[in-house]
């Protein structure tokens, strides 16, 4: 199975400039997760230590650098961020600097934790968003992808967040066809309304054919790569890698999607990564074709 383009293609790959470092991501729980979703594009799971948990001090150093560089917003993801015991402190530090979004599967969020987060949010001058991943409208469609029982525990987490005053953003990977897209978006809104969440927010992300997803469906075909023709006259602002970087325990990567690819590691400080990057991966084709960004 083809998983990534052959090096000769990489030589011809068009480059995305770094237009502005607006967004900094943190792989704050490394690749550790209490779930092991079958479409996870970085193959996270209970035993995956390819990126380690980040400490508050480690994150703090990057926060200082990010603020010096004029960062606009901050994102925290994993793995499952709430596996990181230092997360509340990290979020508190981050919210002093910029608006924060945390991406979670919400299975570890109960009323007590939701209330703790709400206190943090109320005390912050910047917005604190919580994004919750779910992939089906029922256990029947969700659990085969995200694991037995995960629908119920995630919904419980969403309800706890709602009770604490959050407006969680449901984040769904598009595991359906484009024809069904509008209808399914509606139905995810309806699902939240049924739960009594009167201001439903839903974000749909495309599937990236990397990581575990390559086993569930397929990897990228050799012709799913970008060439100069694709980006002729293209507005690079549409690609998140023109305005963001991803920090993990292993350094700074171009984006949240390619952290398993050594070529995507651009440096050990943010300052070292303020340069163009070759769009050599099949996943770049997905970003380009869908206009998707992992941002809210």
């Amino acid at each position: 199975m083809e998983r990534s383009p052959v090096p000769v293609l990489a030589l011809r790959a068009p480059k995305v400039p770094l237009l502005s470092l607006d967004t900094v991501w943190f792989q704050v729980a490394g690749t550790l997760c209490n779930l092991a979703c079958r479409h996870c594009f970085i193959s996270c799971g209970p035993g995956n230590r390819s990126h380690e948990m980040m400490s508050r001090a480690e994150v703090g150093r990057y926060l200082v650098e990010a603020a010096d560089l004029g960062v606009k917003d901050l994102y925290f993801t994993g793995g499952e961020p709430f596996l990181n015991r230092e997360l509340p402190g990290i979020l508190e530090d981050a919210l002093r600097i910029a608006p924060v979004t945390v991406l979670t599967n919400a299975t570890l969020i109960d009323d007590r934790r939701a209330e703790e987060l709400a206190t943090l949010s109320r005390g912050a001058r910047y917005s604190f968003e919580v994004r919750v991943s779910l992939d089906g409208l029922t256990p029947d469609t969700n659990d085969p992808i995200r694991g037995e029982g995960s629908f119920r525990t995630t919904i419980r987490g969403v309800e706890a967040l709602h009770r604490a005053g959050f407006l969680p953003i449901l984040t769904v990977a598009q595991t359906w066809s484009d024809e069904e897209d509008a209808a399914l978006r509606e139905r995810f809104h309806a699902l939240l309304l049924e739960l009594g969440i009167t201001r439903p927010r839903v974000k749909v992300l495309p599937l990236f054919r990397v990581g575990r997803e390559t086993e569930r469906t397929r990897g990228y075909a050799p012709d799913e790569v970008l060439t100069e023709e694709h980006v002729l006259g293209y507005d690079f602002w549409n690609l998140q890698c023109s305005t963001s970087r991803m920090v993990t325990s292993r350094g700074v990567f171009v984006c949240p999607i390619l952290i398993d690819h050594p070529a995507a590691r651009m440096g050990s400080t943010l300052a070292e990564t303020l340069r163009a990057f070759p769009l050599a991966h099949g996943a770049c084709h997905t970003c380009w074709a869908t206009g998707a960004s992992c941002r809210n």
Binding site: D68, D73, Y126, S127, E129, H189, K203, W237
Partner: protein
């Protein structure tokens, strides 16, 4: 299309100034705001773009701005109309918001004459002037992008400091979000979002808002002006625009295009 910055050098700029955000085709709100600014003795009035959209009378906005000799810059809506683009470029993803945006844009587009489109195409993207040694920059979205939203709760100090530095400005007036706010930054730079005149500020008050900069001050005031909002709501209904638009005008709470609001701003509203 080239829209060079408009650089102003005029003694009137030392006087009190008014900054009016998106009229959005709401001519009654705009007239109320302009009357109010004149009554207070504005030395110059600026409009920060998005003349049409949402409201019932986009075709009345340019004549009104001309009548009051308002200096206008281009919003994303105006540029989309000038370039005859298919949509306003706000980029909604929620199916309902998408539909509302499409309806408003199609309505506004139908009521925009070729002459108005041509005029939109000539509007400057930025206006610059210096007043008492302070370098002012006026824009629609952010200094760098006409459709970038600068929300209070989603714009870090760090980012705004950089934006001011990159723009070579000490004080920036922007709009585009429809919600007014201002912030003095640690460096001394200042951002003022003038909000919108044509759509209420999602605070349960049906008034029209604009920003006022007194003479001898950098500190903006936000002024709410009552107007006959019921008449506008009725016009919206008569024109067959979505009843949700009329409800926003009547109640002062936003009912559409809420998905773009960050958590803090969204929680302050009712919907």
């Amino acid at each position: 299309m080239t829209n060079p910055d408009l650089v102003l050098d005029d003694p009137a700029l030392e006087g009190p100034l008014a900054f009016v955000g998106g009229p959005y085709g709401n001519d009654r709100a705009l007239r109320a705001v302009l009357d109010d600014a004149m009554r207070r003795g504005a030395a110059r009035i600026f409009c920060l773009g998005d003349l049409g959209g949402f409201g019932p009378h986009p075709e009345r906005i340019l004549p009104l701005l001309d009548e009051f000799e308002v200096t206008v810059l281009a919003g994303n809506y105006d540029l989309a109309l000038a370039e005859r683009r298919g949509d306003c470029g706000c980029g909604y993803t929620h199916p309902d918001d998408n539909r509302f945006a499409r309806v408003a844009y199609a309505y506004t587009s139908r009521r925009t004459s070729d002459a108005d489109r041509a005029r939109f195409g000539t509007l400057p993207r930025h206006i610059r002037f210096t007043r008492e040694g302070v370098r002012y920059l006026l824009c629609h979205g952010s200094p760098r992008r006409v459709n970038e939203f600068l929300w209070d709760s989603a714009s870090s100090d760090a980012f705004l400091e950089r934006a001011a530095r990159d723009a070579g400005a000490d004080q920036i007036f922007c709009s585009h979000t429809g919600l007014h706010w201002q912030r003095a930054l640690p460096s001394g730079a200042r951002f003022v979002n003038a909000g919108a005149a044509g759509r209420p500020a999602n605070d349960g008050r049906p008034d029209a808002w604009y920003a006022w900069l007194p003479a001898d001050s950098r500190d903006a005031e936000f002024l709410a002006v009552p107007y006959d909002h019921d008449a506008v709501a009725e016009e919206i209904e008569r024109e067959g625009l979505p009843p949700e638009f009329a409800r926003t005008i009547r109640t002062g709470w936003w009912t559409t295009c809420l998905e773009i609001l960050p958590a803090k701003e969204r929680l302050r509203g009712r919907h």
